[in-house]
Symmetry: C2
Subunit: 596 residues, 2 copies
């Protein structure tokens, strides 16, 4: 049996105390957002995910999706759960009120997303992909297209996909072959085959709106000749309801390691009718609107699975009796002590906890930037926020999913043999979490995005959106003795990050392969320092509040213990990463291709 | 399609060049062992594993084992493969000639085991468990029991198991409840339930010989009241053939994350007839004979999967075309370059390679000690070898399986989305490798064995079996400029290991929880230094041979590149581990159990 209770206390801490949710009311359309309203949303989401989505997580994994003659059926209960999800308004929660959305800011909705991912990652992909498609269409589509398609997508009656990958190309979309021929009436005829299309076909919605990358006849070669099209499963009839079937079919679903309740489809477009989104040959730009949002969401998937796995590990560590405490029996009346008394089990739980809470805090920081970029009335704030989102997106995506996988594995290890079998549901977390390191750009691609694009764009301006606040925080708290155990390690690792950044900037300019060879280690180094920054800030709040917090004092004490664990036990990885980076590309690149 | 070719060149290097196989002839019964004979065995094993076992690996995973009314069927083809395995003499290869074995030393047979694990981990468990049971019975059983049961086990006609775990106890066997009542005729009546019994029931052999831990009526409480019994599925008839069914039944098999073709059984003993192995209440000692051997074998499983996963990753990285080299197109005539040109892909391949070859070298070093302990005519050598085996067993088990899992995941990452689906068979490596970190004592338990038992036993004598040769090697080569890039990092990390050892010895003596909190980080630190020692020794050989090696020069050049990669990119982890160790237990232990 899987267990999960939304970590509402920690979520409120991140949102209200760490990132000051009161400031959100300064954003456009958020004037009435109050802490009470936010807490109410979080509680409703907790209730929904705990009671509706969680019970379908293991059964959905076991049953998987069914494919027959082009039709895909989701596992038992998914359809009812989706209807309930839609009726409760969750599809519309984070969308623009102009199209029927409720306009909840990302700062709040990312926490809802986390709960969805904790309770049922596979389920979350259906509305998740729709929201990504909504974003691309809203940002780049014509008003006519938006009016015709967005309201039903926001409502959740129709779902969305992103159709990028083809059998011979994923990362390198410049190779794609799907073609679009103008029909003279403003529409296009789309033909080609796509694979790995999440939610490409299913039985949850009346219609499916595919966003498809394809080439126009006059397209330049490579990545600069790709356009984005809206291609629905059913064309609309005169009343805007699903009408005739379009030339879109599903030829199969993948048998995957995990997320088995999410239909991963092969989709064929056979002279399917579609409409151009945005300008010809500028499809990648439009698709990136969707992809950037999706990348932060995929990071949230890592966080969500980590939280669920952590809770599972804690539950088992409290209940499983094996051996005695090394400090003498703690529960002499029982046949053995619960394994939570053992230092090595605690090492696993504390690691899981420190990563999970750290990622939640960092996610909140990035979500705030997403909101400010979108909704701030102040241009300067919007630009600064855009920089922070650009910089942190690959870090959130790759770091959170790597750590999510690590935490899921720590949970399995805590269970021992019982973690390896289906019964307790923890091995599912490992299998489910694994995909998040791969899709929406592998974590290696994220690292290249960080060192190759984000680091150098606008003369390093995005970097400053992280470096400046960290420096300011360190400077402001350097003299505070109560924080010395947190500021010291943060300052040291931040110095390492600065060195590594300068090293890669210099050497990467001279030889891009130097940056490439350093990329993954650098992203992890950066991410660990970012978590360190969050932990130091959280420690500062906890130090300030613990003595006056009354019944809540234990919460702040736990924050301090976990912050200390992070600084002492996890952040030192940064030194090893810097050593690896510093050694340069030579040993990575020297071996002849035929010698492997 | 899974691919695998036994790495015979590297195996010969490890056996003949690194560990000087010629010295094996000095061991009892090994006088006729020659390099030619060894190479012949390895080639036969390569052929068998590549052509018979590999083709059943993915199909066995897909089909899994079948359970119906107490009967377990292995997947299609396993029975024929097992018959062929037995007929080719592989069951008997590493066993005592006194019972029909071929007496192959561990130095050779561990390489055969590696090939079996690379090609089909699930299959390997059936003969693997039999060999473990053989070892315990041979070391501790009465001559009568040995004569009655060993020959058929050695031949592979009958298989073996180890029945330790019960639903409420795994690590803490002191809690076990299975009972053994003396029957007055030298036999015992065994009653109890065991779980997680690999090869507990199946259709590969005529009989199954269970080694069962149980309590005698007068047994002291806890771990000191456990005895070991031989309990066969079928009792022998007057001719020594399988006769009446014993009170042993299989009530189900587990649904696992991986190793699906290995039957993991719930076994009930219902007044089953059994015989005591060794002395009453000394069952743990006898079981540890089996378990220690199994632990090195489980380490070999990690190595075996790592090799297969590495080869899969290389094959895909050469064939998959995506993007262009950062140094400019390498294959301008193709639509894109193969992904092996990308530094981040090479990072994954080089990491996999450095770990895999390093583990193979270290496995050879430990296997040699296994052989010397068993077969050396010189008491002093036997004792030294026993120390090394004792010290290195938990390291081989935990480090190799952790790295095997890491490498399997690097392979999936190299494949991207194609790694997450069943088709290429690489996600199976992740699922299969995961169990090896858990069974035969979780890796956390291995770490506790290292710091709690191995470090302090005999006044630190086992530690010296590693420290002395490493020190001697460093001293002897410190001045060799050609080796500076290898000896320098080795010496530095070795110094760190010495500091960490002294730290844990001192603090662990004062407070065992200090040692417990440091254990896992210390084991990894130790293991990485041990691999560093192997890489430095391999580099020394390569430096000596590369210029005169002719066609083989490229092999030695590759060794040097990989050694350098290991020293520069992987060994620096040791610094971070030492930082974590040094911080002590406080932050790990401070949080109240109810605060998690």
């Amino acid at each position: 049996m899987q267990v999960y209770k939304a970590p509402l206390r920690d979520m409120r801490f991140v949102l209200h105390e760490l990132h000051g949710s009161a400031e959100l009311t300064a954003l456009e359309g958020q004037g009435e957002l109050s802490a009470d309203l936010i807490d109410d949303v979080l509680e409703q989401a907790a209730n929904f995910t705990e009671t509706v989505l969680l019970p379908l997580n293991a059964s959905g994994d076991l049953e998987g999706c069914h494919y027959e003659n082009g039709v895909v059926r989701t596992p038992q209960g998914f359809r009812q759960a989706y209807d309930a999800f839609r009726e409760a308004g969750w599809n519309a929660a984070a969308s623009d009120p102009a199209y029927g959305g409720q306009g909840l800011p990302a700062s709040v909705y990312k926490l809802v997303e986390e709960m969805i991912c904790s309770s049922n990652l596979s389920f979350g992909l259906y509305p998740g992909l729709t929201h990504g498609a909504y974003l691309a269409l809203r940002s780049h589509g014509s008003q006519e297209l938006k009016d015709a398609w967005l309201p039903k997508m926001v409502e959740g009656r129709w779902s969305g996909t992103m159709c990028l990958t083809e059998p011979h190309c994923g990362t390198d979309l410049g190779l794609l072959r799907t073609r679009a021929i103008p029909q003279g009436d403003g529409s296009y005829s789309i033909t080609g085959s796509k694979i790995f299309i999440s939610a490409g076909e299913h039985d949850l919605t009346e219609n499916i709106v595919h966003l498809v990358l394809a080439r126009l006849p006059d397209a330049p070669k490579g990545i600069k000749g790709i356009s984005l099209f809206l291609v629905p499963k059913f064309l609309q009839d005169a009343d805007g309801n699903p009408g005739p079937r379009n030339g879109v079919s599903c030829s199969g679903i993948e048998h995957k390691m995990g997320i088995k309740a999410s239909a991963t489809c092969q989709i064929n477009f056979d002279a399917a009718k579609g409409w151009l989104i945005g300008e010809p040959h500028k499809g990648m730009r439009a698709m990136f609107t969707m992809m950037n949002s999706e990348r932060v969401s995929v990071g949230t998937q890592g966080l969500g699975v980590a939280e669920a796995a952590y809770q599972a590990a804690v539950a088992y560590a409290r209940e499983r009796l094996q051996g005695r405490s090394l400090a003498g029996a703690k529960y002499p009346d029982r046949p053995a002590d619960p394994i939570i008394v053992h230092p090595d089990v605690r090492r696993m739980l504390m690691t899981a906890r420190a990563y999970t809470e750290g990622c939640r805090a960092l996610c909140g920081w990035v979500a705030r930037a997403l909101d400010e970029h979108e909704l701030s009335p102040d241009q300067q704030i919007r630009t600064a926020a855009e920089d922070r989102v650009a910089l942190m997106t690959p870090i959130v995506k790759a770091l959170f999913t790597d750590l999510g996988f690590e935490v899921a594995n720590l949970a399995v290890q805590t269970y021992g043999g019982h973690g390896y079998i289906r019964e307790h549901g923890v091995e599912q977390y490992v299998r489910d979490a694994r995909i998040a390191q791969i899709y929406e750009g592998t974590n290696g691609v994220q690292a290249l995005d960080l060192v190759g694009r984000k680091m150098s764009s606008n003369f390093g301006r995005p970097l400053r959106s992280f470096f400046h606040p960290v420096l300011a925080f360190i400077d402001a708290n350097l003299e505070d003795e109560a924080l010395a155990d947190f500021i010291g390690p943060l300052a040291k690792s931040f110095g390492t990050l600065q060195q590594a950044t300068a090293h890669i900037a210099a050497n990467g300019l001279r030889d891009p392969e130097e940056a490439g060879a350093a990329a993954t280690d650098y992203l992890r180094l950066f991410g660990l320092v970012a978590l360190g920054y969050m932990w130091a800030r959280m420690a500062k709040i906890a130090v300030g509040k613990r003595e006056t917090a009354g019944a809540d004092a234990a919460f702040y004490e736990a924050k301090l213990v976990t912050a200390r664990f992070y600084m002492e036990r996890l952040l030192p990885q940064t030194g090893a990463l810097w050593s690896a980076i510093r050694s340069g590309k030579a040993s990575t690149m020297a071996l002849g291709e035929d010698r492997f």
